[in-house]
């Protein structure tokens, strides 16, 4: 017997929950329309951008040469060659940035969360905030001023990597910091109560617990710096051939390739390379983001 009482047996009660006032209905409708509209306005340019990059870029990237050859020996109006040199350059420069920014960033975050008390921590935290607001062109000019103007180095892919360090550091620090703060203090206390020293607690308990989030953040930081354009414009020359040596000579990268083709090559082949380069960059960034989400899914703490 799960049915309700028959109608005549039911006590007569006023329907308190049914009378929604007209003004509330209108407000509700208006708000719904407004947020839906805002969502569409935000999404339209994104979809537009993706579709036009895909439509114009796919013809360029479908050839095997695109991924395996450089533009060395290819004339500007020839639809031939590929962007292997630029992909290699982008990855090498990001890797250089990562070699410096990831360990420094993680250690700085450990300092801020686990050790930082008082003045130095406040100053460090403030500096990180400032650093995360520094425009990429300023970071590039700083490296230019320091290494090229003052110390007399030549332009190189390595200097691009150094400029990217400045842009990557605050992202890594802030993200790692958040992940470390998510680790409950109870775990630290549990470890201390076992007579485990603080540094070992951090290394063996706190960091492993925060690992997946930290790795995800690092991947996203990589994805972010790979698209940076200002450092490559200021700090290195464009090369049409493959150059694996970041310390010497010009070195291409995807943003630099796009910029160079845009400013020097009005031919149809140039147009194709621009869109192909843009699509390639998006694909690489996406791969990094997919790696990040896979890592966070598989290494997340299993209950």
């Amino acid at each position: 017997m799960s049915t309700a009482l028959d109608a005549p047996d039911r006590p007569a009660v006023p329907e308190t929950f049914r009378s929604v006032s007209a003004s509330r209905k209108i407000k509700n409708q208006a708000a719904t329309v407004l947020v839906t509209l805002a969502f569409l306005i935000a999404v339209i340019p994104l979809v537009w951008l993706l579709v036009s990059v895909l439509v114009k870029g796919i013809p360029a990237i479908v050839s095997a040469d695109w991924w395996t050859k450089s533009l060395s020996g290819v004339t500007p109006d020839e639809v031939r060659g590929g962007v292997y040199h630029a992909i290699a350059g982008t990855l090498i420069q990001a890797l250089i940035a990562g070699i410096f920014a990831v360990p420094i960033g993680i250690l700085a975050a450990v300092y801020l969360v686990e050790y930082g008390r008082g003045r130095l921590a406040k100053i460090t935290s403030f500096m990180v905030d400032i650093l995360s607001g520094v425009p990429s062109i300023v970071a590039a000019l700083f490296i230019f001023a320091l290494f090229i103007s003052i110390l007399g180095f030549d332009q190189s892919g390595f200097l691009v990597g150094l400029a990217l360090v400045l842009l990557m550091l605050p992202v890594v620090i802030r993200n790692t910091q958040e992940m470390l703060q998510l680790v409950p203090d109870e775990l630290r206390e549990a470890a201390y109560a076992l007579g485990i020293p603080k540094w070992k607690t951090i290394l063996r308990i706190v960091l492993p617990t925060a690992l997946s989030g930290t790795v995800t953040g690092v991947m996203l930081a990589f994805a972010r710096v790979m698209g940076e354009t200002a450092p490559v414009l200021v700090l290195v020359g464009y090369a049409r051939a493959i150059n694996f040596n970041p310390f010497q000579g010009n070195m291409a990268s995807l943003p630099l390739l796009i910029y160079t083709e845009l400013s020097t090559n009005p031919s149809a082949a140039g147009q194709l390379r621009i869109w192909g380069g843009a699509l390639t960059l998006i694909i690489i960034v996406m791969i990094f983001q997919i790696i990040a989400s896979v890592i966070s899914r598989f290494s997340s703490i299993s209950k």
């Binding site: 549990a190 109560a193 209950k303």
Partner: protein, 258 residues
């Protein structure tokens, strides 16, 4: 193994705030001592000073002497890490390490102190889990994460982890407050067994629990919020619950306080 604890004229401060005033008490070896009292009276604070755990809170400091078998744990040059190896602690909420298996949780203390011998670790693991009355329940899934156990099992896992490093004293900060009555009973039985080998100090809000498990009971109180907490009296549990010396204690125990 089990050692005695003596507190002499202990005052505890958090920055400028005087949290606990003038505590004098002794905990004989192989006994269970329970701390009872209203919230904010400082019983947990006193417990945490017994293995220098309060030092993790910035600004916290202790005056007076806390001795383990006559040795001052706050003596100049004494190391908080070494103190905590001797005086273990179980917390209010079960807190197994989420990244580790059940086995690794139990031997975490030894492993991170540098013990590598796998045979010894396995022995300690089994002995500790048996000691915590958990072995039969987890025997077949030692490699599964500790987070998959029930709350009561997790708490016994934490006790196994605490006794795996073979401390002399075991501190328990409301170990049953997050558990159901059946798990609570399991932990209380376990405390009865553990006291054969360890000196145990337990903080509890449950007066029946204090009456059931402890040999002596310390009652803490505070005059008003913002005033320091103090030890009202400490005596045999039976006496505290039947015929306490202080009026204050009797009022609290019979529910007539404030």
């Amino acid at each position: 193994m089990a050692k005695r604890l003596d507190l002499k004229d202990v005052d505890i401060y958090y920055g400028d705030f005087h949290a606990v005033q003038d505590v004098n008490l002794s905990v004989p070896p192989r006994t269970v001592t329970s701390f009872i009292g209203p919230s904010g009276c400082g019983k947990s604070t006193v417990l945490r000073t017994l293995n220098r755990m309060h030092e993790e809170i910035p600004g916290a400091r202790v005056e007076g002497e806390i001795q383990l078998d006559g040795e001052d744990i706050y003596a100049r040059g004494s190391d908080a890490v070494a103190v905590r190896r001797t005086i273990g602690m179980v917390f209010q909420r079960p807190n197994p390490f989420p990244t580790m298996s059940i086995r690794d949780n139990v031997v975490a203390g030894l492993k991170l102190q540098g013990v590598r011998d796998k045979k010894k670790l396995d022995e300690v693991c089994e002995a500790s889990l048996r000691g915590a009355n958990l072995w039969k329940e987890v025997e077949s899934r030692l490699d599964k994460p500790g987070g998959g156990l029930s709350g009561g099992q997790q708490q016994r896992l934490c006790i196994a982890r605490a006794i795996a490093v073979q401390p002399d004293v075991l501190l328990m900060d409301e170990p049953c407050s997050a558990l159901d009555p059946i798990s609570t009973l399991a932990i209380e039985d376990l405390i009865g067994d553990l006291k054969k080998e360890y000196t145990i100090v337990i903080v509890t809000h449950n007066m029946q629990q204090a009456a059931r498990v402890s040999d002596q009971t310390a009652f803490f109180n505070l005059e008003a919020t913002g005033k320091p907490g103090h030890l009202v009296e400490i005596d045999d549990t039976e006496k505290i619950f039947s015929n306490p010396t202080e009026r204050e204690t009797e009022d609290y125990i019979s529910g007539r306080f404030g």
